[in-house]
Each structure stands twice: as C-alpha cells, then as structure tokens.
C-alpha cells in the first residue's frame, strides 16, 4: 500500500488561505534549484515589498525580544549590515592582535 496514512482535514487552506502563508513558503522556503531561466528572487523589488508586508511591526516585536529574523540576511537589511559590522569587528580584532607585535606599542594615550 502506498497510500499515505490519513491526514486531518486541511486547516486554514483552500480558498481562504492566507496569502502571506503561501508566499512565505513558495518564495522563501522551497528548495532553490537553478533552472535554465535564471532569476534571483532577491533581485526582485517585490521581495522588499513582501518583506515589508510579511514582517510584523518590528518595533513591537523587538520590545518582546522577538527578533530571530534579524539574523537572517535574506530577511533583514539590518542583518546584512550586522554581518558587515561583524566582519569589520573581526578584522579589527585581528589587526589588534597583530599590532602588539610591533614595537611602538609602548606609549599609552
């Protein structure tokens, strides 16, 4: 028998399906396989619109500590900036580690 076991009736789908639920999945979650027609959904301006629409009032959520999407570069320009900032900090740290090796580290400010 290849028939899958019985599933409960669908919830929240069908005609009344929440568009955000569908877009979230088909645009954001499905597996990305490069086809012959190549298009990067991230280049599509609509993605920005989508994000503006999907992501809830950020301030309120952040007050509650709900901010997991902020770490997702695909979802948040902030995260992209953070990534830059982190890289920056890393580089600085590496520089700082190199600096002491040099003699002129004597004078304190």
């Amino acid at each position: 028998m290849t028939t899958p076991s019985r599933l409960p009736d669908p919830y929240g789908q069908g005609g009344g399906a929440n568009l955000a639920d569908i877009l979230e999945r088909v645009l954001d979650k499905g597996v990305v396989i490069a086809g012959d027609i190549r298009i990067n959904l991230l280049d599509i301006e609509l993605l920005t619109i989508k994000l503006r629409l999907i992501v809830a009032s950020v301030d309120k959520a952040k007050e509650m500590g709900i901010d997991w999407w902020e770490d997702d570069p695909a979802l948040s320009s902030r995260a992209r900036q953070n990534e830059l900032a982190r890289e920056n900090a890393e580089l600085r740290e590496r520089l700082a580690q190199l600096e002491p090796a040099r003699p002129q580290r004597e004078e304190a400010p």
Partner: protein, 264 residues
Amino acid sequence: MSGLRYVYAVCHPYESPLQRQLSGVSGAPPKRLTHHGLVAVVSTVPEHEFTEEALRANLEDLDWLTATARAHQQVIDALTAVTSPLPLRLATVFRDDSGVRSMIEAREEELRRVLDRLAGRVEWGVKVYVEKPPESSDDSSGAGRPPAKAVSGRDYLRRRRDQTRAHDDVWQRASEFSDRLHATLSAFAEDSRMHAPQNSALSGATGQNVLNAAYLVPRADSEEFVELVDREKDDVPGIRVELTGPWAAYSFAGEFSEDPGVES
C-alpha cells in the same frame, strides 16, 4: 518547442493519480517526468510569460504573483495528498524536458537524501496572535474618543498609564504563552522552524502576529498534533492561536548547494 517546463516539486515515484482537473501555473495540467527513479512534477508554461525578462516584470506584479503562487501551491497540495514532495521555489523553469532530466542527474544524490528525510512527513504551521487590546477597559460607550468625564489632567494620565500597563501585560502573557506553546509543540514534532512574524497587511489576519512557527510531523502523528494544538491553545484572553496545514515540508527542505558538479 512549445513552451517551457515549470517544475513544482521532485518526489519519489507515487502510485495514486493526482486529483483530476488539476491545473498548474498558466492553466496546463501538471504531469510526471520520471528519470533515474525520481519524479519531477512539471507543466508547460508559455515562453512569453517565463523568459527571464518577462519573469522579472511579472514577479513585480502582485496579481500575477498571487495567481502563480496559488497555482503552484495547489499542485503542491495535491501532491502532498498522495506523497511527500520536495517543493521547489516558485518559478523554477527549464527550457525543455531534457533540461529537467539533467538537473535530476546532477542533483540525484542530494534529492534522494532530502526526500528520504521528508518521507512520510508533513509540515504544520502555528501562529500566535495578540488581539488588539480594547481602547480602555471602561469604554462601553463604544466611541473611540475619551469619555467626556475625563476631568483632570491627573485622571487622564492615570487612565493612560493603566491602559499602557494592561497592554504590556497582554504582550508579556503572549510572549510567555508562545514560549510555552513552542516548547510543547517542538517536543512533539521531529523538527521545528521559527519564521518572521507576519504583517496583517498581507495576511489579512486581525491582531499582531507574535509567533510564526513550522513543525515537521509524521503523517501518522498529525491527528495527534492537531489535538495537541487544540488542547494547548486554551482560551487565554487576548491571545489567538492559528493552525495551518498540512503543508508539504517547505520549511524543512533545507539548503541545496548553489551549483552541483555538473550544470545543465
């Protein structure tokens, strides 16, 4: 060459036919393309809508996107009824069948690995909303404006403060409730993912979305999962729980390497 090939999903071979009269993106019925023992579910889409240039423009068109996303999801839903498909992202398009076959060959191992992991499982979505708190607790007059009897500035300030506090209480409770719910559900599910909360402008839902999570659940346990959500959702005032599914395991399809060894 009549049109391009739009790929919805890759699956293990399945026996039950898809529901009849199912139409895919652009109206053509989806069909199976079997290669190397894997099935790609494809349909023909018109070239003028799906070339790179056309696609770029169409994706900016919310009506087109909505129709396409719904058609895509309809096919995935039909597949989910008979098997556990690996859903591809919207608008995965190849020139012809041989392009699809090359993709399967190039990705065979990866595809099998993920399909094995997802076999017999579905995804359930659970969202928690905070309902808009009433403007003020004693506002039975219905009008949105402050009652005429707001006499002194001190009274006004006190009322404002009480409102703010009540509001914060709801958020605090919602936050704790969501944590608890998520802990319970992820203990039951095989895997879980947190998604960004949704904005009501697109979802049309009332209230503020505070938890938006997906759970990977074996089909056989789905009924139990639904009951669990039902039991957990209590009737906490001001908080609403919404269940969606069963979805194909979108949130658990995982990352695929950008380019496999061979390119079509």
